[in-house]
C-alpha cells in the first residue's frame, strides 16, 4: 500500500513538473518596458455552424490554434492533414479542441467553412472553424503572436505554418511548425502533458 502511495505521489510530482516545464509564452513587453502576461480572449467570432464563439468556449479546454483560408494553394492543405491526424489522436479527450481562423472571410462564408469542416471528417465540437472581420482576425492573430497579409499578386496570403498550444487558463504554452513531422511529434507530446 505504501509503495502504491509512493508511486502515485511520484507520478503526480512528475506530471506537475512536466506541466511546469512548458513555459508561458503569451506575454508582451509594453511601452513602459514591463513584461505583461495575457490570456487569449475571443469577441465577435462565429463558427462553421453560425454559432457565436467566445472566450467561454475556451475555458477548461486545451486547444491548438492556427490561421488558414480554404482557397489556400500552399501551406494549408498539408497543415490540414496534420491537424486531422491530431484531432484523431485526441478524439477521446473531450477537453481538447482545435481552432482554425480563416484569414479570408470575404470568400470563406459560414457555408464554405461548414463544407470544409465536414470534409475533414472531424466532429464540429472538436474542430472549430472561426470567422470574423479581417480587422478582428488581425487582432486575434496578434494575440496568437502572428499576423497575415495578402501577397502582392493576390493569389495567396502570407500566413504562418505555426500552431499555438493554449492551456486551460488560455495562456500560450508552445509554438509548433505544423509542416515539420518532428514538430508534430513535439506538439502531440505537449498536448498530452497539458491534458494529463
Amino acid at each position: 500500500m505504501k509503495l502504491r502511495v509512493l508511486l502515485l505521489l511520484l507520478l503526480l510530482f512528475n506530471c506537475e513538473n512536466q506541466t511546469e516545464s512548458l513555459p508561458v509564452l503569451s506575454y508582451t513587453i509594453i511601452d513602459s518596458g514591463e513584461k505583461v502576461n495575457y490570456s487569449i480572449t475571443y469577441d465577435n467570432f462565429t463558427n462553421q455552424l453560425g454559432e457565436s464563439f467566445t472566450t467561454q468556449n475556451l475555458e477548461q479546454n486545451i486547444c491548438i490554434a492556427n490561421f488558414f483560408f480554404t482557397r489556400c494553394p500552399s501551406i494549408c492543405p498539408p497543415m490540414r492533414i496534420e491537424l486531422i491526424d491530431i484531432a484523431n489522436t485526441f478524439k477521446d479527450d473531450d477537453n481538447f479542441i482545435i481552432i482554425s481562423h480563416t484569414i479570408d472571410p470575404k470568400n470563406d462564408s459560414i457555408y464554405v467553412l461548414k463544407n470544409y469542416a465536414e470534409a475533414t471528417g472531424i466532429p464540429n465540437e472538436k474542430w472549430q472553424f472561426l470567422r470574423s472581420s479581417v480587422e478582428n482576425t488581425k487582432l486575434q492573430a496578434g494575440q496568437f503572436m502572428t499576423n497575415f497579409k495578402p501577397n502582392e499578386d493576390g493569389t495567396d496570403f502570407y500566413h504562418s505554418s505555426y500552431a499555438a498550444l493554449i492551456d486551460k487558463n488560455q495562456y500560450i504554452r508552445g509554438f509548433y511548425n505544423t509542416l515539420i513531422p518532428e514538430e508534430i511529434i513535439r506538439l502531440k507530446k505537449d498536448i498530452r502533458i497539458l491534458l494529463d
Binding site: 516545464s21 512548458l22 513555459p23 509564452l25 506575454y27 508582451t28 513587453i29 509594453i30 511601452d31 513602459s32 518596458g33 514591463e34 513584461k35 496578434g142 496568437f144 503572436m145 502572428t146 499576423n147 497575415f148 497579409k149 502582392e152 502570407y158 500566413h159 504562418s160 505555426y162 508552445g174 509554438f175 509548433y176 511548425n177 515539420i180 518532428e182 514538430e183 513535439r186
Partner: protein, 387 residues
C-alpha cells in the same frame, strides 16, 4: 479443409501483394533523386532505430550544445543532398531571461560524440527563430512574415564565428529556435560510415551596454527560362542560368521572371552579379557589423558592393582545397565600428567562380548580413529603464 484452403489463399495473396508493393516501392525509390533517397534512408535508419536516433543537449548559462542523431554517409552527397536532421529548441525552457546570442559553431563528430571528424561532412547548419513569437514580444508585429526568419547559417569553410564584442541577437531564454543541419560528402566513396554534428551556440546574460543586431539574408539569384528550365543558357539567351532544380531556391520576381538561387556552373571562370537592394529592405540608414558567407566549392570570392558610390564594402575570400573538392576556409566580416548602409543606395553581390574540375558543379552564394537594429535598441532602452 475449406478453412486450410482459404488460409493458404489469403497467405498466397498476401505474399503477392507484399511482393507487388515492394517492387513498386523499390522502383519508386530508385527513381528518386539523391536528396530524396537520403531523406527516406535517414527516416528509416531513425524510425527503425538502426542508428542512434536521439539528440543530446547540454547547456549552461553561456552556451547550449546540441548533438544530432547519427547520420549515415553511404554516397557522394553534394550541397543540399545529404542526410539532414531538424529540431526546435530553447536555450533554457525553464527561464524567461533576456540573453544575447553572440557566437555559433558547428562541427562533425564521430558517433562516440567526442572525436572530431573532418568538417568536409558539414553542408550547412541553419539556425532560425520563430518571427511571430520573437517580434510579438517586443510589439514589432509589422516585421512578422517580412522575410524568412533565418538567424544565421554555418557551412563548409565557415564553421564558426562570433559577433564583434558588445553586439548580439537578443532572445528570451524560452523562445523557440530551430536547428537544421545537413551532411556533405564531396569526396569519400567507401563503405558507409556514420557522423554526428555538434552545434554550439554561445550567449551572454543581459547587459544594458549590448547592441542588438538584426539578420538579413542576401543571395545571388540568376534568371532561367521557366518554359525550358533545363536548357540553360543559349545563344539567344546567354544570361540564363541552368537551375539545379526548379522547386527549392526558385523565385519569381515582380516582373514575373523566374530566378534560381542554386544553379550549375560550367568548367572555367565566371563572374555573376545580383542587385540585393530589395533583399536588404533598408528603411533607414544603419551600420553593418557582421557578415557570414555561404559559398560552394569552386567559388573564389563574393563581394558586397555599394553600387551608388562604386565601392566594395567587403570581399569574402574562399580557399578551395587543392587535393579534393571542398572549401578549406571562407572569410567573414566582423567590425565593432561597422560600415554604414543607406536606404537610397543600391547594393549588389558579385561572385567569382573558377570551376577547375572539368565537369559541371553546383553553386550558391549567400551572405547573412547583421545590421545594427535601431528599432530594437529603442525597445531595449525602455526595457532597461524599467529594470
Amino acid at each position: 479443409m475449406v478453412f486450410i484452403f482459404m488460409k493458404s489463399k489469403i497467405l498466397k495473396y498476401s505474399v503477392l501483394l507484399s511482393l507487388f508493393v515492394t517492387i513498386i516501392g523499390g522502383i519508386y525509390y530508385l527513381k528518386l533523386p539523391n536528396r530524396h533517397k537520403a531523406i527516406v534512408k535517414t527516416q528509416l535508419y531513425h524510425k527503425l532505430s538502426l542508428v542512434d536516433n536521439t539528440w543530446e543537449t547540454y547547456s549552461d548559462d553561456k552556451q547550449i550544445s546540441l548533438i544530432t542523431p547519427t547520420m549515415v554517409i553511404d554516397n557522394i552527397y553534394k550541397s543540399m543532398e545529404g542526410p539532414k536532421v531538424v529540431r526546435s529548441f530553447q536555450l533554457d525552457a525553464t527561464k524567461d531571461d533576456l540573453v544575447w546570442i553572440t557566437s555559433f559553431e558547428t562541427k562533425a563528430l564521430s558517433t562516440n560524440e567526442v572525436d572530431q571528424l573532418s568538417n568536409d561532412y558539414i553542408c550547412h547548419t541553419n539556425i532560425d527563430f520563430y518571427d511571430g513569437e520573437h517580434y510579438s514580444r517586443w510589439q514589432l508585429n509589422n516585421r512578422i512574415g517580412e522575410q524568412y526568419p533565418r538567424l544565421t547559417s554555418m557551412s563548409n569553410g565557415i564553421e564558426s564565428y562570433a559577433f564583434p564584442d558588445g553586439f548580439g541577437f537578443p532572445v528570451f531564454s524560452n523562445e523557440n529556435l530551430f536547428l537544421s543541419t545537413q551532411i556533405l560528402n564531396q569526396n569519400i566513396k567507401t563503405e558507409p560510415f556514420s557522423v554526428k554534428h555538434k552545434v554550439n551556440i554561445g550567449f551572454k546574460p543581459h547587459d544594458t551596454s549590448m547592441k542588438p543586431l538584426m539578420s538579413k539574408t542576401v543571395f545571388v539569384m540568376l534568371p532561367y527560362d521557366s518554359k525550358n528550365p533545363f536548357q540553360g543558357p543559349t545563344e539567344s539567351n546567354p544570361n540564363m542560368c541552368l537551375p539545379l532544380e526548379t522547386k527549392n531556391h526558385s523565385y519569381i520576381n515582380s516582373d514575373g521572371e523566374s530566378l534560381s538561387g542554386h544553379w550549375v556552373v560550367f568548367p572555367g571562370r565566371k563572374t555573376y552579379s545580383y542587385d540585393i537592394t530589395q533583399q536588404l529592405q533598408l528603411t533607414d540608414s544603419t551600420s553593418m557589423h557582421h557578415i557570414a558567407t555561404h559559398l560552394h566549392p569552386f567559388a573564389e570570392t563574393l563581394s558586397f558592393r555599394d553600387q551608388t558610390i562604386d565601392s566594395t564594402l567587403f570581399i569574402s575570400k574562399a580557399i578551395n582545397y587543392k587535393d579534393k573538392i571542398g572549401l578549406e576556409k571562407v572569410s567573414y566580416f566582423s567590425s565593432k565600428t561597422g560600415v554604414m548602409l543607406y536606404p537610397n543606395h543600391r547594393y549588389e553581390l558579385i561572385l567569382q567562380t573558377n570551376n577547375t574540375s572539368g565537369i559541371n558543379q553546383d553553386m550558391m552564394a549567400s551572405m547573412f548580413v547583421f545590421l545594427f537594429d535601431k528599432e530594437m535598441d529603442e525597445k531595449l532602452k525602455i526595457y532597461n529603464a524599467n529594470k
